[in-house]
Symmetry: C2
Subunit: 284 residues, 2 copies
Amino acid sequence: MSFLDHIRACNRWEPANFLPFLVDGERVGLMRRGFAEHLKGFPEVFRVDREQVTWIYPSTGFEDRNRAMDEVVEALVEPGIISHLQGEPYPVTGGSRLQAPMLIDRAAAPFFGVRAFGQHLNGYVRDGSGMKLWIARRSADRRVFPNHLDNLVAGGLPWGIGLRDNLRKECREEAGIAERLADRAVPVGAVTYCRDSERGLKPDVMYCYDLELPTSFEPRCQDGEVQEFFLWPAERVLETVRDSDQFKLNCNLVIIDFLIRHGLIDQDAPDYLDLIQGLRSPLP
Amino acid sequence: MSFLDHIRACNRWEPANFLPFLVDGERVGLMRRGFAEHLKGFPEVFRVDREQVTWIYPSTGFEDRNRAMDEVVEALVEPGIISHLQGEPYPVTGGSRLQAPMLIDRAAAPFFGVRAFGQHLNGYVRDGSGMKLWIARRSADRRVFPNHLDNLVAGGLPWGIGLRDNLRKECREEAGIAERLADRAVPVGAVTYCRDSERGLKPDVMYCYDLELPTSFEPRCQDGEVQEFFLWPAERVLETVRDSDQFKLNCNLVIIDFLIRHGLIDQDAPDYLDLIQGLRSPLP
């Protein structure tokens, strides 16, 4: 393993395996040919050609479109083509999350290959002996990456809630961080990647935050998503990311970004430029 | 003007206008067709074809190659094809600066389109009223961008000196920063861009540093390259970068990177993803 291996693992996909998904003439997603076949069952909503899938639902109203999309994904859950729904609306967009012609359930998004957005927070402490990071271990019953290590706070960014408000909510639910403390989190950029996953394509934008915590702080999970927390020296976090698969896949990238910004990865490392560029992969 | 305009201005070049320059079978540069014509005068050193320029000097010794390259660039300075030499050896490399088959004078590098490497340091102060940045104004007699605004410390990274040592040297010469203080500078990443300049192509790697300075610190230029220094509130620096061309072109990018990492550019800005990706342009 190496830092770069994690970045490569998050950026594995073959464009030829995906068909563009167009809404209002704009490409907002990319879907597997096999999945596109299932959409032929909804000829009022999609036109499925050899080269692309086009949204053709007659009404252009936002609510009408959302309802039409909901009906499609619910119909696809029944035969198990889409495994489940999450009940969180995500924007369907090829650009910014604030410009979306329609919404889609979070769990259905990868089947259509639309952009996902999330927030990841590294909580750290400086004491006399250097920098330490708070690390979470995901619960055994999480659907993806059970028992894996995770950032102190991380969560998807549903439609209709602002970045600051969603971060407050995630901080409270995942680590018991009070609003006043959560508001000290510094937005430090974003990490982007695009991965061919089981469910489909995931072009992902992870907004990143650094939060320096008082030495007296102890995280407490409120929503059952985390089984335990550790306060590890930065060096141990670095070695764990570099040498193992213990972290949830995309959390590795958020930590590599943190290590680079805090001068903890040597600028003379032979793959340093590959790392910094690999954390900002162009999204399709 | 906008942040993104500066990034675009640093990333303007047309691949079709350049021929690959190969050493040992690896592309280490890209040169204008017109410049390649001049290299036909050195048939023992270069083979100039329609599609590429190949280094064919018979000896593969590092010193022999450097001598041969020196002779070529000196011969090209005489008729004014290369405007001047700088006396600083730069690595000729298509990858890391530590793996270079030969060297080239810094001023000649863009004619061959080989990678340039530099270091840029943002010096900042936190006092009760928020964050302030130290800004330099370049001397009137600087060859490039005279009188423009600049990072507190910035300089090229010649071959044969390490990152930390060169940073100490630049800190001392450009701003009178003592070694003990310079060593507190945190490496925070790198910004990459590739620009078609007057002299040729400049694929550039700028290693970036943040240095928090005590409020009592006052920079003093030792080498005449800076005419004055200002301590500006971060907001004024942000507005000056966003709304004007007062900064040396590539320094805008280093400051935009700083502003993003310190949460001073809104993550909801419509071009936020373009900014963070534009600061890590893939180098040819």
